[in-house]
Amino acid sequence: MSAEAFPRAFHDQPAWRRYIIRDSLGMAGFGALFFPLPLLSWRDRLPPAPWKYVIAAAPALPVAVVVWSMLRYLEEETDEYQRLLNTRAFIAAIGMTLVITTGWGLMQWFADVAKVSLFEVFPLFLACQALATAWVRWRAR
């Protein structure tokens, strides 16, 4: 079969593939650095300061990788329509995250809802990004 028989869909775009790989590495890195923390803390195995701070904050670095992968994607994508759709999805995900965290933060102060840790914002953002991407793709179908 020739290449023409299998045209590129959005998920076959080289820039999108690279984005998915980098994004997945960032998420995996977050998981790898985050999940040992509760265990280390519970067993009282965290080293004294300043290393305690370094180890506790280390999962924030892969978050930077995820943000960097989004920026790189926007620079590398040559299909301008796909770039537009994914820019919309990124902005919608950021917007959803801001609305939810601001609303929840205000409810924590004034309405006695459960306290949520700030590090939970990142998994929330990933969930919002998945929803926003699906929504943008559905609208563009």
Binding site: A3, R8, T78, E80, Y81, L84, A140
Partner: protein, 65 residues
């Protein structure tokens, strides 16, 4: 902006996928331009014109305000 992409494509018996391949974009992009959901940038409009061997004005037409 209106365009004659669908007609021109049909005249050449090209599928959306074939045109997308010639333009080095995804099939969804060709579909979005054809259906008027998306107006291409000037560089992409030039690429489309080159693929059909026409001028941009022969393919795209500005809508009345």
């Amino acid at each position: 902006m209106k365009n004659r992409l669908k007609v021109l494509r049909a005249e050449r018996d090209w599928s959306q996928a074939e045109l997308a391949d010639r333009l080095d974009v995804s099939r969804q992009s060709v579909n979005a331009i054809e259906t008027g959901k998306y107006d291409p940038s000037l560089p992409l409009a030039f690429r489309i014109a080159r693929v059909f061997g026409l001028t941009i004005e022969q393919i795209f037409e500005e809508c009345e305000a």
